[in-house]
Symmetry: C5
Subunit: 355 residues, 5 copies
């Protein structure tokens, strides 16, 4: 049975642990890849039925199962039965609105986090939820999308000399986390470009409503990234504190390295957030600046020509007794008055630095 | 005796534990429903007098009593006497201004929190206070309103195979908390819609005082939601730390699941709060933008026509000696001056990107 | 000797523990009331000399002494000598600029906090400092003002059946704290009214400098309330942690109830603070809105009539060769030009939604 | 050797503990005062050479040495040698850019903090660094300036009955800290005056660039005060936690009193900071308000006279066929049109509350 | 092999510990300096191959190796092999995007932080990453640039009497950290100058878009400095908590001194951040102020001359029956009306303080 709900609120009222996919459907068909390896041994295949992994259950090799596409409830349910996974964990795997977290059970670990990616043109981040079930000899990875995210790891496993082949499921888990966290650097680079571009538009040319729109959109993106990335710090801290036998102490130094990266990413996000908040104040400043420029033009034109027009208006009056009208030099004299007033006002505005 | 006070400040000075309903009256008649169940047994009824539950007191079944409507002080007082509940707990049940909290007593647990709901059209959140008294074999739920919030749970209990039938009062408590916390997702969805709609109005069309009004209203709503929802995190943390025998350790994983949901809701609320604060700055920016547009129109009209009017004024003067007035081509020549000035200024404004 | 200093900075340099009243003088005459009670016994009187309480010193009854008015140094000094109170505590009682706090000594507890009240018309909070000295059989309360704050408690003590009569000084202390903390709800209600009224003025009618003045005044009031109320949380936490024999464990649940109230008040204050900060941005938005409205009126008038005036100016020129002047239909034709221009511009402004 | 560097950055690269005065030179000549006292004994003098204190080294009296003026490196170095003070402590004494702190060594304590003062006219805070070296029988105080800050203490010591005479160096240390911390209340009072005066200017009369200047200056002053005062809280907390024998437990209650004062000062500073940030928004609001007022005047004048001028312009045209020109009542009729238009517009503006 | 990647995101997907230089290339050729010293012994040289340090491996002297320029992967890899350094540490040394941190391994310590410097003219901070590997008898320093940063230390080591010669690698480590942290004071001084200069421009003369540009640039610089400097506090706290035998307890007091300096720098950065945020509000205020000034000029000119022009327009009308036109004193009378109106309006504007 494969049904999907698009928002988490639709599920309200269902019994806890009722298995149903919640979230947008990114893949309709589920692909299951299996890699089985030990120091000496290597095997790689795509399987049709999840039951095909049963044969790896009793060997001492590391079996890495990648499930791409989450709409097939049966697969998840079958894994749950096979390895005695708690119903709530299965539910979390199927519900793609999880906050990143680490949970420790007697026989397995559950890790869930988000893999971020951006499209090239506009800065729009997409989030893929990735769940890891780590057992003694198995690592299950549940992804929403089919892609080549783990190809570098797969390539390394194929090489017999790679460190991956010498360690267990904990080191594989680290390698997976590392590659997911490192994706964020690409997103951060792309965010940096987007913000710089807004900043340039703002400070160099004329800011429009579009700029405003972009700032607001980036602010929301940053808020979202922050929400999905900052719990990763505490996720790894949880793994480091864990006393589960599934994480060897040798792995700690590797996890700390991932943690370092996560902290750097979170700090960058925080400072981008500050910068974006500041950009709105700059926008307001620039709008005010432009207003001043506009008003200066108006004021200069009006202040010079309004008095002159008044003067011209006076000598356009039709009074019978207006002696000036008959003076021979009145007209050129008035022109010199016009010019004098204009020059005086222009100097005045120049002094005020309005010109 | 059933009297109600509408604000908490009216109660100031009364002895502690003086039982009186404080808060708005949402139901005038109290309804009492009882569900009694065990693995094998199931019984469901609406009772008139609270004394009818006495018969369940000595059986090992789980008895769930739902009291809807809080104006009937007698019911609460009688339960207090029957099960030896502390006077201050009874007072808290009757006073609907409680902050969500968890309290542990020797023989029972007290939990109080808010159930949020929104009306469809405008985003206006209403808060219903729900109190839980959890005993070894009893769960009392005190609600302000009669509604079908718990129908999904009741339906599950009726099914003999449901997990609820196998667990005790602690699992029932979890199920109730879960359904209340999950209501918040609906509110959050609705808040998201409301904010998106404001944002669209703001960035697409002309923002009015109404938009401002809505932003301010949403800000206050978000402040209120935050006040009522964020203590839930610490409420559940308290339950997880509790060493009471009334909460079995098996239930912890379920409570953690509720906690996850609560944290996600709180984080969403926080980011909506940030967005709403930012919207005011955007409003100010857009108002400034519009001002610039208005001023450009004025400046262009005024700057072009004021000098021309002055020129026309000059040749409207009545001086006797104005040689131009007699020139044959003066009038068309002046027109070409008019046109030249206009064109020059239009090009100037075009260059400034005001057109 | 009774001298008072009005600001704390005047005291700088005096030896520590130099007893002198610091603060505004709210009462010039000191009133001392004594209530002595036990389960069976009750006695109530106003005394002239503090030495009259000596007779209660060796009985097992609870003696509650209320000192209203703090300018009489002798009373405080005498109590200090009688019960061996530390000089710094006496100093704190006399100096009404204390931050709320709880201090534990070998034989007594010292509690100091503020009782808030508001005048009806304008929201202006006044602060009265109340100090409590709690001993085994004595509770001393030092207040700045004579009022009926404690009348409800006094009334309860008179009733032989009231719980107060069965407990000791710790329960009386709780009752006093409860009544003081509950006063804050009245202040909060009144603050809520004041803020709503500002908000209404802001969003409905024309905001003036007065509105600004009120917002700023409310912000300072809220800052002050916060300063005086938020330490109460930590005060009660201190009492709950205390291992003094003067606070029985049975009283803890009552103190937690006061703490609940204090937390709710502090959270309300915090959210009012946020709202007030936001109101300034709304004020700025509304001022900007009004400016736009004013400028639209100006721009519409100017943009329509300035071109028309120019046209009229042209035909007011006195050139000899202006063929139009002689055309028969020139004048009505020009009128239709006037009307056409006006209509076109009006439609243009209508389209821009300026009308 | 006495050389001084004015900024700390000039010292970069020098070996740690290289003794040189860093900071502004407030006194060029160093004064050394010595007070030696016990319950029975009292002696007071100004000495020329620091070696004169050697004679007090073996007596059980308390010896208080006040060094005013820090340019004389030899004095500090000699004390360092005499009492085996760590080179880094001596360096800190000589460098007047220290953050307030408390350091505990085997045989002595080192305390450094700032003494604040303000000039009367303008609110400009000056900071004097005061270092204390507390030994078993010695207290060294290093000040930058010669003044009468400690006169009240000196006066008290002279009196044989004063508590100071009965206690050791720890109580003297408390007394010194108390007097330094209490200086802050004077600064706070003066800051309050300065802020109130800005607020009044802002809300009552016309705010100018000067007001802005003052707000910004006050903000920086508050930021500086905060930087120099807030570590005092943690300084005293450090003293209270210390297990050094140099601080008797009897002194704790006195130190808590200083701590209370420090906390009150820090809280005041925080709320002044909030108020100052808010003042800028008020400034912006008021500037907007004034703009509206100005624009109303312009709009009213322009909107009334521009249409009228147009009408007058029409009848100033020189068309041959303009029938109105010949009508007898045309001129008075036009006047009534002028008046009607003006009145209608004035009513319109009145209704809009622009008048 | 020497290849470099310019951004960290390009490395995503590489196996952990893959040695490659990530960051901008500041030096293409690597210089290796070695200083070997003990109380009695001193030796200083520049070596070509890192293998030349092998001879110091078994002596008890302190060997300080400074590697300037990070593009030569072989050097780092060779050191890693010689001293058995973890692959992830080597990776961090080569990747110049590290967050400052302290890591403790069994046989060595790893410290990485940033050295800040500014160019003179414009405030533009450059960051050089410096890594320290501290072993029992070796200190390796990896720098991006060749410069004379450590010359003062080198000079001190040459002197036989200097404290450095008596201590081990921990004291040398302290000396290096001290000199790096002290560089920040120079940057802070330079930042202070830059901010003061902006503030002066803002408050004294006319603020332009350039000022805005500078404010924004400084804000980003401060955000960056903060990101790179604030972890230093926790770095040193980590060293103080460390129980490694590589840090003698005698060194703690020196590290605390560095910590003091770091805290002072961080606090300065925080307050500069606040000031910069405030400057934008001041900018907006000043732009508003200028607008008011401009509008006053316009309003005064327009309000005076527009009514006068209207009056002149009236008497420019060509009605046959306009009695005033024939009055003898009409023209001078009108002039006195003109003057009266102007004077009245000027007084009005004077009263409003617009003049
Ligand atoms: Mg659920
Ligand atoms: Mg989340
Ligand atoms: Mg990584
Ligand atoms: Mg979104
Ligand atoms: Mg946001
Ligand atoms: Mg690393
Ligand atoms: Mg702002
Ligand atoms: Mg009460
Ligand atoms: Mg609440
Ligand atoms: Mg749930
Ligand atoms: Mg509300
Ligand atoms: Mg879940
Ligand atoms: Mg704002
Ligand atoms: Mg004092
Ligand atoms: Mg005190
Ligand atoms: Mg306070
Ligand atoms: Mg209460
Ligand atoms: Mg305030
Ligand atoms: Mg006050
Ligand atoms: Mg209660
Ligand atoms: Mg603003
Ligand atoms: Mg140094
Ligand atoms: Mg400091
Ligand atoms: Mg004091
Ligand atoms: Mg300064
Ligand atoms: Mg602001
Ligand atoms: Mg990597
Ligand atoms: Mg960093
Ligand atoms: Mg240093
Ligand atoms: Mg940057
Ligand atoms: Mg130092």
């Amino acid at each position: 049975m494969t049904k999907s709900l698009s928002t988490v609120s639709e599920k309200s009222g269902l019994p806890p642990g009722a298995l149903i996919h919640v979230g947008d459907v990114l893949e309709t068909v589920t692909r299951i890849s299996v890699i089985d390896y030990s120091t000496e041994h290597f095997e790689e295949q795509t399987i049709q039925s999840i039951d095909e992994i049963l044969k790896y259950k009793d060997s001492n090799t590391v079996t890495w199962v990648i499930i791409e596409g989450l709409t097939n409830v049966d697969v998840v349910e079958r894994i749950g039965t096979m390895f005695d996974i708690h119903q709530l964990v299965l539910e979390d795997i199927m519900n793609t609105h999880q906050r990143p977290k680490f949970e420790e059970y007697d026989d397995y670990l559950y890790i869930v986090l988000k893999c971020l990616s951006t499209e090239n043109d506009q800065f729009a981040v997409t989030y893929e939820q990735i769940s890891l079930l780590v057992l003694k000899n198995f690592v299950f990875v549940f992804k929403e999308k089919k892609d080549d995210l783990f190809h570098p790891i797969q390539k390394r496993i194929r090489s017999k000399r790679d460190r991956l082949r010498k360690f267990g499921t904990d080191y594989l888990t680290y390698t997976i986390l590392d590659i997911i966290v490192d994706q964020n650097f690409i997103v951060i680079d792309s965010l940096d470009d987007a913000i710089n571009s807004v900043e340039d538009t703002l400070l160099a040319s004329e800011p429009t409503k579009d700029t405003l729109n972009t700032i607001q959109r980036l602010k929301r993106e940053v808020a979202n990234i922050r929400k999905h990335v900052s719990p990763v710090r505490e996720l790894i801290a949880g793994m480091l504190c864990s006393e589960s036998e599934l994480i060897d102490e040798k792995i700690h130094i590797y996890l700390k390295d991932v943690s370092d990266h996560a902290i750097r990413i979170i700090e960058s996000i925080e400072s981008y957030r500050d910068i974006l908040i500041g950009l709105l104040d700059i926008y307001i400043s620039i709008v005010g600046n432009k207003m001043n420029e506009i008003m200066k033009v108006l004021t200069i034109f009006a202040s010079i020509f309004i008095p002159l027009t008044f003067l011209a208006g006076i000598y356009g009056m039709n009074f019978e007794y207006m002696p000036e009208l008959k003076w021979k030099w009145a007209y050129p004299a008035l022109w010199s008055v016009f010019i004098t007033i204009s020059v005086v006002l222009l100097i005045y505005f120049k002094r005020k630095k309005w010109l």
